[in-house]
Structure formats: C-alpha cells, structure tokens
Symmetry: C2
Subunit: 326 residues, 2 copies
DNA sequence: CTGAAAGCGCTTACAG
DNA sequence: CTGAAAGCGCTTACAG
C-alpha cells in the first residue's frame, strides 16, 4: 500500500477517526484487495482494551440451558465484544481461570458460576469488572438474575389455582442458592394458601434425582400428594417419569408435576410439565449493556437487576400442547 | 521489580528458556506478590501466535450436543490453547466470522459448521489451518468425524437382530450430509438383510419432525412398520412420543424406535430408545492433536480421521435401564 | 546465563 | 485532514 501512512490506515479502520472520506474509501478498497485485516491483538495491546470478555460457565448450565450461551454470545456480539469461554467441569477448575483472565487482559468477566472471594479480589485489584449472572453478587459487584423467589411464587400459585393442596417437593442441594430461592418462593405461596407439604427430597438438578425422589417416597409409603414441584425441570421430568413408568400412576389427572426453566423437553408430549421460563434474552442483553458500561468506566446506578420469570402452562391433559405441534 | 531485566522476566515465564533456576524462582515469587501476569496479547503480537483457535459451531449442535463444546474445550485446554467461540444461529452469520478469525490472528479454526469455499480460500491464503469436525473436509483440509455410515449399519443390524423386518425411516433434509450418511448405512444394512422400508419422511432433526412423521404415516394409513429409525435421537423421541401419546400404541413391544447420538434424554424411562453414541472425547482429543500439529507446521500423514460409533442398547421393555438408575 | 536493542502490528497525542 | 514519532507489553536473536 504505497503512498499512505500507517496512521492513515489505522484511522481508516477506526470508526469516527478523522480521515478524508475519500482516502478512507481508497484504503478500505486496497485492504479488501490485499486481504488485509487489522490485527486486533496488536490493537488490544496498544489500546489496552481487548474487546473480549470472559464467560465463566458451568458445563451443567450449558448442558441444560444452552440458550444462555447463545443469548450472551449474541448480546455481546451486537456490541462488538467477543466472548472467551471458560467452561467449568466442576468447581475445582476455577483456580487457573482467574490467572487466564488476567493474562488475556480481558475487559471483563461474566460469572455464571461461583467465584471464590480471593479471586474476586484479584480481579478487583486489576480493576476487571465482574458481573454475576444468575448468581448472588458479592458486595460492590453488579448482577443480572432471574427473580427466582418470584418464580417460586408463580409456579406454586399456578398449581394452587388448579386445585392442588398436598405438595411434594424435590429441592436442590443446600449449596444451590438458585434452588433455595425458588423453593422459598414455593413455600411462601403454599403457606399463604394453607396448603401442606407432605414429602420432601433433595437432589442435584439431574433427571435421576427426580426419579429417586418419587421412588423413595413410594418406598416410604408416602403417596398422598397431588402435586410435585421440583427445583428444576430436569428433576421434574425424572419425577414424572417415575410416576408414570415406575408407579404406573395416571398423570397428570392425578398428580401434576412442575419445574423451573421451561427447557425444551418440558414441552414434549411425554412430559408436558408446567414450568417458569427465565427471560434469558432480556437478561443477556442487560448483562451486555451493563458490562459495556462498566468497561467504559461508567458505573450504572442500579447494578442489581432482577427479571421476573414467565409461567409456561402445561397443556390440558390429553390435548397436545400447541407448542409441540408444527 | 528492581535489578532484573525485562528479558529475564520474559524468560522466567517461558518454560524451557535459559534462566538460572534460582533467578527464575526469584522472579516468579516477586511476580506472585505483585500480582503480575504476563500479557498474553502482547506475547501474541510478538510471537505472532495467539494460542487461541476459533470454533465455529451451530447453535443447534450445542443445543442438542453440548458435550461437543465441553470435549473440545477440555481437549484444547490440555494443550494450553484457548477457544474463541463463534456460535452460529443460522447459516447466514458465517459471513463476518472469517473476518473476525483473521483479525484476531487465531492460530486455527475448528469448523463444525459449513464454511463457504470463498472463506476457506481466504483462510488458506492467510495460512490459517482449518480442521473440520463431523463435516466433509474440503480438498486438502483435515477432518475428524464419526463414521456415520458405519453407525447406520450398526443401528440397523441391531434392530434386525431383534427380529424387526418392516422399517419406517425419518430422514434428514437433503442438505444434511451427516443425515444422509447415516441413512445410507441403514439402507445398506437393511438391503443386505432383505428387510423392507415401508414408510419414509424427512425432517430437520427436531422433536416435532418425528412427531409429524408418525402422525403423517397414520393419516396415510401406513401402519405396518415394526421399527422406526430416525436420523437423530431428537426425531426418534418425537416419533416415539407420537406413537405412545397420539396413537396410543404399546411400545416398544410392538414398534421399536432408534436414533443417533445417544443424547441424555434417549435413556430416560419415557423414551429409552436404541442409539449410537459418537466417541466425542476421542474425536475432540484427535482434533486438538491434529490442530496442534498443524499449527506447528507439521502436516500429519493421515488427516482424515474417522471414528466408529458405539451402540447403546435400549433397556428391555419394563426393566428400568441401568444407566438411569442411581 | 544475562542484558540492551530491535521488532511484533497497532494507536495516539503532537505538530503541521 | 495527515504523517513522523513514541509507546503498548511482550519476545528473541545477538553479543557478552
């Protein structure tokens, strides 16, 4: 590219930079021809801004909620920010993630998994903004989350409205804050209505846990519940499958099953459970916006955003759900 | 960090560089204390190697096969290579992905989605290695894939062995090469055994497509099949749900349903279909190894790797599958 | 084994 | 609007 200075090229590729429109067009055309693309890594070291944020995600979250990754990916890509994924297989691996984030000079971190306090401090010291996604934020950190307590209220209300009074709960393990919030919501609504909880079990958000819960209740002779609420759809589905395929109960006439997240299979004819959907796109867009603002150094006034979930009705028994019909 | 040269620090952080062990230890300790981490972006521009590879993935692949992302992520992270994810919502978005890859100076690309020839050439010109994952490789490109044709043979053989003779097929759309290979395998094996295909339908890998297939056959009065093979588990599950919940057939005694991929829900009590599992971890590891070699400039002798799938039996009717028992 | 110097490919005041 | 120069934070021959 003869006759053009390095700076001119740089400015041609920088939106809003002061270049003669004609010159810019010329440069862009030449670049096109030569297959030239500015090196973003070099730009990153020069500007000390990578335009990449780290996303710390549990593998389980992606397994059961792949929409989260898509929504965040799209929300950020709309802002010209790319995502470097740190997929955690279990809680142990978090260790070196922080080091990586610091090394890669990421502009920020979306934490959809628990980050130990020590690591948070490390990130804070390096002034890397951290935004929690569906996680309780540490002090001074921003967060975007679904209002799980409200979702609990909603799903309980739904079942109460349909006449159910005796509930069995498949809770999450004690260390799950999301699970705890959901179930607190459920209990609050049930208590208000004077309905009773006749059976409980704790699981780890997996299909098998729902299966085990119902089987265990049957073994214990607990059978007088008319509705099951699980801390997520996966366990709800397991519970329903146990009812139908192990206990051979006729459902949902007798026993209605409900969960949270509105995963795809919750709408299948074989399950068709009631559930509460998280407004994932809204949450992702909010996360991207807040993160972008934080990167720019603007601290938003309201950094703790809660979004209400939306009830997804189970189709009436016998009728195929409209959602599953083509 | 007084008294140490910049180069010394650099070498301390470079495994195998020539530094006095004592000096290295000293530097590392000091770095620890100061919270210093070498800037990988700067390293990337200096060495012209980013240690990041791009992964082009369809959102649908991640939705139905989240294991792929995990396996690749882990395989590469074992080699010290990070992944920058390009999640494609539909075929259109591929456009700017190549530009991004070039800009980010990625060391290579794993393409788990179709990449237009023009873009391939662009990448080739920039000598960015491309490896196809479960995709037919363009000329001169490496690929790692499951042997879908063999998987087709296997699943058909399984059903034949169980005595089935009259088959209904839920194929994939014409543009799906994976679907076509699978079904070619199925047909080859059925033909060899002299079994016949009494019904066919095309779908797009979704639950609803299986549902529609079975419903359509019923409407057309085609009902004399004793086994259904779908091009993936999702459609197989849809088909089975239609049989059970729409036609109220007793399955699997009467009609056995089979698919491909061995997704989690294929093992649920409510479906429990036979399927062929892809050896995803092996494939991911192979992909990482080949890519690493290509980045180093070594072209491997055998660049087209095919891995055989593994049959996953459906549990005998009535008996809970051991895989779903805790 | 070590340090000074040049270079990686960009950006950004600065002076014109 | 434009170019020369300095700088971003690293690495890597090179000479010692």
């Amino acid at each position: 590219m003869v006759g053009v200075s390095e700076s001119a090229v740089s400015r041609a590729f920088t939106p809003g930079a002061s270049v003669a429109p004609k010159k810019r067009a010329e440069i862009l055309r030449a670049a096109q021809e030569l297959g030239y693309q500015p090196n973003i890594m070099a730009r990153a070291v020069a500007t000390r801004r990578s335009n990449v944020v780290g996303l710390i995600l549990f593998n389980e979250t992606n397994r059961h909620h792949p929409e989260v990754l898509l929504a965040l990916s799209q929300a950020f890509s709309g802002l010209g920010v790319r995502i470097m994924l740190f997929l955690l297989d279990d809680d142990e691996q978090i260790g070196d993630v922080t080091d990586h984030i610091l090394s890669y000079q990421l502009d920020g971190v979306i934490a959809a998994a628990a980050v130990p306090a020590a690591h948070l401090q490390q990130l804070e010291r390096a002034s890397v903004p951290v935004l929690f996604y569906n996680r309780p934020a540490g002090l001074g950190f921003a967060s975007v989350a679904c209002d799980h307590h409200a979702s609990g209220l909603v799903i309980a209300r739904h079942l109460l409205d349909k006449g159910h009074r005796r509930f069995a709960l498949v809770r999450a393990k004690e260390d799950s804050l999301v699970g705890a919030e959901r179930m607190r919501g459920v209990e609050d609504e049930l208590a208000r209505a004077g309905a009773c909880i006749v059976a409980e079990h704790r699981g780890d958000f997996a299909y098998d846990d729902g299966l085990v819960a119902v089987t265990a209740w049957a073994d214990q002779g607990v059978g007088d519940y008319d509705a099951i609420i699980a801390a997520n759809d996966m366990m709800a589905i397991g519970a329903k499958d146990a009812l139908v395929h192990r206990l051979a109960k006729s459902v949902p006439d007798q026993i209605e099953v409900a969960g949270f997240d509105a995963i795809e299979s919750s709408r299948w004819l074989s399950h068709n459970i009631a559930s509460v959907e998280q407004p994932i796109e809204q949450m992702a867009n909010a996360a991207a916006l807040i993160m972008a603002a934080q990167i720019k150094g603007e601290r938003l006034p309201d950094e703790q955003l809660r979004f209400p979930g939306k009830l997804q009705h189970a189709a009436p028994a016998g009728e195929p759900s409209p959602r599953t019909l083509p």
